[in-house]
């Protein structure tokens, strides 16, 4: 796991974060529910909670779907390529490429690889950025930068949990294995996998 330079995080007193969706996107409750599940994965392992609010500009975390150039200097590029991006704390901006074919149910079994992206997988990854995590070289980690189309990856890996708990501590109710007891992967120097 890694952090942004200077390790930005939400201040210690700000454990109740609000999120909102760009009103112009007019997202359905089903789509909003995908994000709620994604937030839940991070709140399970940290003291942070996430609550939806209707006040987009008053929210800590602001989620929007955009196509092409959307004014932040990081234009989206159409189908596949870059899927989404999110800013480090306390910016709270979370942008997704509106040109992707976003799949809601995440069931890619019995289907050939195609240009479809699991929304929840991308949401869980980008929320990691919103909270202060950078990219990880651990392939199983949510914070690994790439995802194949037609793939679902929504479970936090030990690497993700160790990273986020280093920033915020653990949820008192979290009953997972203590990540500090699991040795971190030791990289060799050969460049070999």
């Amino acid at each position: 796991y890694s952090f942004f330079p200077n390790r930005p995080r939400w201040p210690p007193g700000r454990t109740r974060l609000t999120y909102a969706f760009l009103p112009e996107n007019q997202l359905s409750d089903v789509v909003k529910g995908v994000f709620a599940r994604a937030f839940e994965r991070w709140s399970e392992v940290t003291p942070l909670t996430f609550t939806e609010t209707s006040s987009f500009y008053g929210a800590d975390l602001r989620i929007g779907f955009f196509s092409g150039d959307h004014g932040d200097g990081e234009p989206f590029d159409g189908v596949l390529g870059t899927l989404a991006h999110a800013f480090s704390p306390p910016a709270g901006r979370f942008h997704l490429d509106g040109d992707e074919n976003w799949v809601i149910d995440g069931d890619f079994l019995n289907s050939s690889p195609m240009s479809a992206v699991d929304l929840e997988s991308v949401a869980v990854h980008e929320i990691g950025h919103l909270l202060g995590l950078g990219h990880s070289s651990v392939e199983d980690a949510i914070m690994y930068p790439t995802i194949s189309s037609g793939t679902r990856k929504v479970e936090l890996a030990n690497d993700d949990i160790m990273g986020i708990q280093e920033l915020y501590g653990s949820n008192p109710s979290y009953n997972g294995s203590d990540p500090t007891l699991t040795p971190r992967t030791e990289w060799d120097t050969s460049g070999a996998p």
């Binding site: 890694s2 952090f3 942004f4 330079p5 359905s28 089903v30 789509v31 990081e74 989206f76 590029d77 159409g78 189908v79 596949l80 390529g81 870059t82 899927l83 989404a84 991006h85 999110a86 509106g98 040109d99 992707e100 074919n101 976003w102 799949v103 809601i104 149910d105 069931d107 890619f108 289907s111 195609m114 240009s115 479809a116 992206v117 929304l119 991308v122 990854h125 980008e126 950025h129 950078g134 990219h135 990880s136 070289s137 392939e139 930068p145 790439t146 995802i147 194949s148 189309s149 037609g150 990289w187 060799d188 120097t189 050969s190 460049g191 070999a192 996998p193």
Partner: protein, 130 residues
Amino acid sequence: HFFPNITSIPASLIPNTTIWDAFNALDGCRKGVKADGLAKLKKYFQLFGYLNNSYDNFSDDFDDYLEKAIRTYQLNFNLYATGELDAPTLKHIVLPRCGNPDVVNGTSTMRSGKPSNRYSANSTIHTVAH
């Protein structure tokens, strides 16, 4: 475009190629060669931080900077750090991904930035784990 499941996506919305597929034609490229498409690949590496923002030689020449960028990328993604555009590397480059950079202000927080890998990220000497 939201779809309840994968079978509900109309064929008309599924492109035959995507933005980075053209990079597959660069298989085998290494330092010193010139090949159509390397300029675009350099922009890809700059987008994700592997070439710094001041880099502006967007020609189709495979230069030292591109080699170093590829080597860093390969370390970050657990590939053999050859500095060449081999098939496994290209297979990875064309995958859809997060738009956030892997390298910020010249510093990678991924694998290549770990202390034990700083040497091999910048060297052509092949080292082997003990």
